[in-house]
Symmetry: C2
Subunit: 452 residues, 2 copies
């Protein structure tokens, strides 16, 4: 049984038990289930049942499940639960997850909650909320184990025994000097292997990879990925350790960045809330600007055809092939821009290789154009019975394909070089650009070949 | 200085030193640099210098750097280095990285290398190579720490001291029974916190999340992401522990899957080698099939216009608006399909919500259509000076926009429901489908409004 099926089974049984008001049964059902799966099952329940199901959980489990819930459900639960229940959960959340929740809540609720947190938790949250969105400071947690470098191994183990149960992440110990400046790291394995009387300063790794509080979250993700880390320490401008970013937060960042990349490729404005939780007006707003930009580009195509109307007046059959030509141009351009933009995002290709890549794409485009062109000549001859028309369509297709490959591969590089996001030159934009030129070429070739 | 700038600096200095044959200087330059950065610097060197630079590294460092190199460079180095050097590196690589390298090498080279590996390493690699590509078995490593459940904590610590230096990953201990069946896990923290005389069976976590050797790698990635794990154990059909998959390998899997998703969205066949390392023929092959499929769809549009040619003969001005109408339809469809496909991939929406999402997208599409339609009526009137033509274009645009939103959001769900990849219904395909219908609607509306 897949996890998905398991969650669905739990959800349907839970819903049935709650409808029968069999709360003992529902409680027993959830005991062996993982918090992440309980959270997903609760998300699938009708709104009115969510708070009831959530109340069945033990206090410790409630906190864990809460952190896995989608932020819209976290918010609605806050409204449903009694103030005391809310406080207990929010106080025990890890500071980075809490900061993320506070980002979504109305300011007045945040104020109320902040005031009632325990002083240590209030301080930790306020610290994180003080950093700019999208930086390491904002996604870090302040729950890590740090020890001073002049401790012995056995003193450090003693300290870990005392502190360990309170911290979220447990893979590294961070070693600091008297001024709380980060000087090294230790894994638990190092601690287990070392002799009890050794000083931490002797056995720690001094060559630490770290980030600053204002490092961009995407860069943090790349560093963790590149150096195969489980967590990376975060320091302030004076090199003092203030938090760590863990790999599970980075997985979320990567997912979010990928969604933004894909949205940009599809011509949807990226950023902000979950698209499916936004209302229709927000959804429309995220799309209308780019549609208008594209529309203006498309009026160029209309103007070109309008200006050459006398060609179409003489051979109206030519009009039938316009969609085929511009769609194929768009498709070839989309393919080229897709691979180039992805390559640039992953740093598989750099600006320096632009000429090489564009040349390669042009040759590929020409190859594809020849194959598609020959197919289209047959089709056009079959449909219209005129060889000159068929030849016009075929040669136009070849020219448009090459043009599309050049723009699709070249424009993302150009945008990257002048400091814009290469993904802005994605399929819809390449299509619009190729269309204007493509239609012009088609009508010019028609004029020449058909001697109009 | 960003990591990227650091690497570039190292690369340029390294190249200069190697050109001056100052090998001591080059060696000194690389000492403080991280293996991942050295690997990237070497990748940027001219081909002839790569093996020379690589030989400057100490044996231990060479192994680490080698694992970070791109597979094409790993292969060319194998050809350049002496047999003995190659063996030393390959023998010390972790089994999963070695299996990945062997996937890329010619079979004859793999045979030679396998024969000369140490027996333990040969066995580990052969084990991994025995599983199907894309499964947990193929990306797992056999280097993990496992202990029997009847050991005491102090016996376990002793065992860890002996074994720890040989293993890649060090975050969990896996506990098995006498038959090597996985029964629990322990973190190093658990070990440090526990009393020395306790049995592992008493303190271990029994509720272990694991995967099977044939679990799909994408599912493994989702499980690690979902449960915030650092590594997940892999068991065979008899529940015996055979390996672990670590989060750093999963980051690579996620990146690869994202590239495949994005390629599919852009109409490029996914899978196989790095696109930029493939030759022009391979690149063309990856693209030609879908282009022909799309071309066939586009001939539908041509056929529709051809059949309605008498409409265009009477009012040739109508032809000028065809590209604008179908491009806008394509853009709106691309937006809808992009958000729905991404939502389905991330499981933010399920098949059950199809009706709700399609309704929402339809309303959004109608809103956008009204705004764009009004703009286009003005533009068409300006260009052609005919209100009936302007009204035809405007109402067609509204209809096409709604149609595009319905198909763009509905078809990915339909494909998902019948077990196909929803991403196949991406922008290029939606565009082609909307075009055929869109042009038909346009010419029909023209017939009605202009009374042709």
């Amino acid at each position: 049984m897949s996890r998905q099926e398991l969650v669905e089974l739990v959800r349907s049984q839970l819903q049935a038990l709650l409808q029968q008001k069999n709360f003992q049964g529902a409680k027993a059902l959830l005991v062996p289930v993982q918090p992440a799966d309980i959270a997903q099952a609760i998300e699938g329940l009708p709104k009115a049942m969510q708070a009831i199901a959530f109340r069945l959980l033990s206090k410790q489990e409630a906190i864990e499940v809460y952190e896995y819930l989608d932020s819209s459900i976290q918010q609605s639960l806050i409204a449903e639960l009694r103030q005391q229940e809310v406080l207990e959960i929010v106080d025990k959340m890890s500071p980075d997850d809490r900061a993320r929740l506070f980002d979504e809540l109305p300011a007045i609720v945040v104020q109320q909650l902040l005031q009632q947190l325990s002083p240590a938790q209030r301080e930790a949250t306020a610290l994180i909320l003080g950093y700019k969105e999208g930086t390491a400071g904002r996604i870090m947690t302040t729950e890590y184990l740090s020890v001073k470098e002049d401790l012995t191994v056995s003193q450090a183990i003693e300290r870990v025994r005392v502190l360990a149960s309170a911290t979220e992440i447990i893979y590294y110990l961070y070693v600091t000097d008297r001024e709380r400046r980060l000087t090294g790291t230790l894994s638990f394995r190092d601690l287990v292997i070392a002799q009890p009387e050794q000083r931490l300063g002797e056995i720690m790794t001094r060559d630490v990879i770290f980030v600053h509080t204002d490092t961009d979250q995407e860069e943090v993700a790349q560093i963790i990925q590149r150096y195969d880390l489980v967590a990376v320490p975060v320091v302030d401008t004076e090199q003092r350790l203030v938090g760590i970013v863990t790999v599970d937060d980075v997985l979320d960042v990567l997912e979010q960045e990928t969604t933004e990349d894909i949205y940009t490729l599809g011509g949807v404005e990226a950023g902000g809330d979950n698209y499916f939780q936004a209302n229709v007006l927000t959804a429309a707003r995220k799309r209308v600007v780019w549609l208008f930009v594209l529309l203006i580009a498309n009026t160029g195509t209309t103007a070109v055809i309008s200006a050459q109307e006398n060609v179409l007046e003489q051979v109206v059959a030519l009009a039938a092939f316009i969609p085929l030509l511009i769609d194929t141009g768009g498709n070839v351009g989309a393919q080229s821009s897709t691979v180039v933009i992805r390559g640039l995002n992953l740093r598989e290709v750099g600006i320096k290789k632009a000429l090489q890549v564009v040349t390669r794409e042009t040759i590929t485009g020409a190859l594809l154009g020849v194959m598609l062109g020959i197919a289209v000549i047959f089709w056009a001859y079959l449909l219209e019975g005129s060889l000159p028309i068929a030849m016009t369509v075929g040669t136009s297709l070849l020219t448009i394909t090459i043009l599309a490959a050049v723009s699709g591969s070249g424009l993302p590089f150009l945008f990257g070089a002048i400091g814009l996001d290469p993904a802005l030159m994605s399929a819809p934009f390449i299509t619009s650009i190729v269309d204007v030129l493509g239609v012009f070429i088609y009508l010019m070739l028609a004029r020449a070949i058909l001697q109009l």
